[in-house]
């Protein structure tokens, strides 16, 4: 009886898990299928599964006549620049917040966070006006700069938690060993928080890559990013779902690859052995 009972519980549990998984992965699978199925079967219910896969949507969006590949390059430029600009500001700030005592530290930390709490849409118009006034509207730089307002606060919080875990004694040992502040930073602290740097960069990259709101108002025809390209298929004359799906699938790839490759860094553990384990 007891055995049967546990078996039933197990089945119920797995059924629930499958349901939850379907909820998360279902839309992604549906989107991938949407990009390769004939347009006529796009919204049939129940979904038609025995269709002939057609990669036409990908060539139409990426190569001809679409310009999504160029937009993907734009996205890459914006996202990589966002990462490169992010770390030199967020790492020293996180270090200072982790190590130094100063007045209003808590307040400052919360103030950073408040930037993340407001909906970014609220800032769109001010940023647009600002960038137009300084003559940067439509440039990569405008998008990269504005994205920092969200990625830097987040990165500071993330990096601070990593730096907090580096024992102070290690830095003190380096000071006594004769290392300067810069040497301690580059040869002792940064190597120890490498997983943190990677994770922070990952999040900054993915954020910048996926962000559609800022490029929507700040990019030009020439600098439009992939999310903008995806949105452009919603037109007055109709919505080409196959194209949207194809562009979105391509847009999904870099974040997915990044997470797969750097997955292990999300689990930290490099500082082990510094102090008594």
């Amino acid at each position: 009886m007891i055995g049967q009972n546990t078996a039933t519980r197990k089945i119920t549990l797995y059924a629930l898990l499958a349901l939850v998984m379907l909820f998360f992965i279902g839309p992604i699978i549906w989107f991938i299928l949407l990009s390769i199925r004939p347009p006529s079967t796009a919204f049939t219910m129940p979904p038609v599964l025995n269709f002939t896969p057609d990669l036409g949507a990908f060539t139409r969006t990426m190569v001809d006549p679409g310009d999504n590949s160029g937009q993907a390059v734009n996205s890459l430029i914006v996202a990589i620049s966002a990462v490169l600009l992010n770390l030199p500001f967020s790492v020293p700030a996180a270090y200072a917040l982790s190590r130094f005592k100063f007045r209003r530290k808590k307040f400052l930390m919360l103030w950073y966070l408040s930037l993340l709490m407001a909906p970014p849409v609220a800032f769109l118009i001010p940023y647009f006006i600002l960038m137009t006034n300084v003559g940067l509207s439509g440039t990569y730089l405008s998008m990269v700069l504005v994205m920092q307002t969200l990625t830097i606060p987040f990165s500071i919080w993330l990096m601070k938690s990593f730096i907090d875990e580096v024992p102070r004694e290690i830095e003190e040992a380096a000071r006594i060993d004769g290392a300067s502040g810069w040497t301690i930073m580059f040869r002792v602290v940064l190597p120890l928080v490498m997983p943190g740097l990677i994770v922070t960069s990952m999040f900054a990259f993915v954020f910048a890559w996926n962000n559609a709101a800022f490029p929507l108002v700040l990019s030009s025809q020439r600098t439009a990013t992939l999310p903008i390209g995806t949105l452009s298929y919603f037109t007055n004359t109709g919505v080409t779902w196959g194209n949207i799906a194809a562009a979105a699938v391509v847009a999904m790839l870099p974040p997915m690859i990044i997470f797969l490759v750097f997955d292990r860094f999300v689990v930290r553990g490099l500082t082990f052995g510094a102090v008594k384990g």
Binding site: E172, I176, D177, L192, K276
Partner: protein
């Protein structure tokens, strides 16, 4: 190699006085141990010598040079941390070489020095490993190696053995002693373990949390033997020795040529004569008054009838047999001496079954484990302290 002179050093954290009026001179090649209970400022003082904490007052003179406000990197000190603080991303070799690289030594010189230190510490086969792949004892040796290669003016050690298990600690303690004989570098060593303090220190400085009464954290600086035989005050007497010294309130009275000290509330009275106590005159001034009398547990013994021994019958509440020694715990109907110290790091402070006192005798001489047991006290080894000043009364 250098001398160290700590002059009237003070450290305040806001309103709180962590350290005040601490002055100690450390001779060239000497090992000074700083010992004391938690919160006595011993680690703070060590960190001030290293330059990791700023001085609020006083001076720190190392090798004749005032280093009070000099950066740690320019002080020529090496430190071994309690948790070792090795660089986890570097190999053992790189860990030891780091300090030398900062001093811009040639690569081959660095290699020679590091391998030399590795040989002394028996680490040669481990130089390519990272700290994470080492045992506690090996990490400890790497931390030592990092200090040795630098050949600094002074070694600073912050409880370097406290993270090791008991057996390894005893072994490393012996190795440290050998190492210091080999290297002969001035060393300041912090510990809360008095066995380490007594075995490793040429001299030991006993520190206590700051109190306005004494006006300094420093209680006494002396050789281990002197600290044990002639503790300057009740704090030092209670801190040095394990189990701790028993303190009784005693009445002093004249008796013939000598004095008699009676434990208050009991009829236990010790005859004090010039023969056993050559400086009895100081104590004679307390005739008719009460003092604090201290008896170390080890100066109880099984009855032998030898001269200078005073028999006592004690109601033993419980005894602990620790191999060759037995600790007998007892209580007497006498007021508690208010102890202005804590030995929070020692487990044997709290009495067993309400027993406030203990005696230590050889297990083989034990006639029973509880109940009335006849013992004797070595009268020559009694200590006396002034009740108000807590200072030792020489006898």
């Amino acid at each position: 190699m250098a001398t160290l002179s700590i002059q009237n050093v003070a450290k305040n954290y806001g309103e709180i006085k962590a350290l005040a009026n601490v002055s100690i001179d450390v001779a060239d090649g000497e090992v000074l141990v700083l010992v004391g209970p938690s919160g006595c400022g011993k680690s703070t003082l060590l960190r001030m010598i290293a330059g990791l904490e700023e001085l609020t007052g006083g001076q720190m003179v190392l090798g004749g040079r005032d280093v009070s406000y000099v950066d740690p990197k320019d002080r020529d000190v090496a430190m071994v941390f309690q948790n070792y603080a090795l660089y986890p991303h570097m190999t053992v070799f790189q860990n030891m070489a780091f300090g030398l690289e900062q001093r811009r030594l040639a690569k081959d010189v660095i290699k020679a020095k590091v391998m030399d230190a590795a040989r002394i510490l028996d680490l040669t086969h481990l130089v390519d490993r990272k700290p994470g792949a080492l045992s506690g004892g090996q990490r400890q040796r790497v931390a030592m190696g990092r200090a040795i290669v630098r050949n600094p003016a002074i070694y600073l050690m912050d409880e370097p053995l406290s993270n090791l298990d008991a057996k390894l600690r005893v072994q490393m303690r012996a190795e440290l002693k050998l190492l210091r004989e080999k290297l002969g570098v001035t060393t300041v060593y912090v510990t809360h373990d008095q066995v380490e303090a007594m075995t490793l220190g040429d001299r030991v400085a006993v520190l206590a949390p700051y109190s306005d009464k004494i006006g300094s954290n420093l209680q006494q600086v002396d050789t281990p033997h002197k600290l044990y035989e002639e503790p300057r005050n009740i704090f030092v007497a209670g801190f040095i020795g394990s189990p701790a010294m028993n303190f009784f309130k005693a009445q002093i009275a004249r008796k013939g040529n000598g004095l008699i000290a009676t434990i208050e509330g009991t009829d236990i009275a010790f005859n004090l004569t010039e023969a056993a106590h050559p400086h009895l005159s100081a104590l004679a001034g307390y005739a008719g008054k009460s003092v604090v009398m201290g008896i170390r547990p080890e100066f109880f013994d099984a009855p032998s009838g030898a001269p200078g021994r005073h028999p006592v019958d004690l109601d033993i509440l419980v005894s602990e047999i620790v191999g060759p020694d037995a600790f007998l715990h007892f209580d007497l109907p006498t007021p508690t001496v208010k102890a202005e110290f804590s030995r929070s790091n020692d487990s044997d402070e709290a009495g067993l079954n309400g027993a406030r006192f203990s005696a230590r005798i050889a297990t083989e001489k034990l006639t029973g484990e509880a109940g009335m047991i006849s013992l004797e006290v070595n009268v020559a080894k009694l200590h006396f302290f002034d009740e108000t000043s807590t200072l030792r009364i020489a006898t």
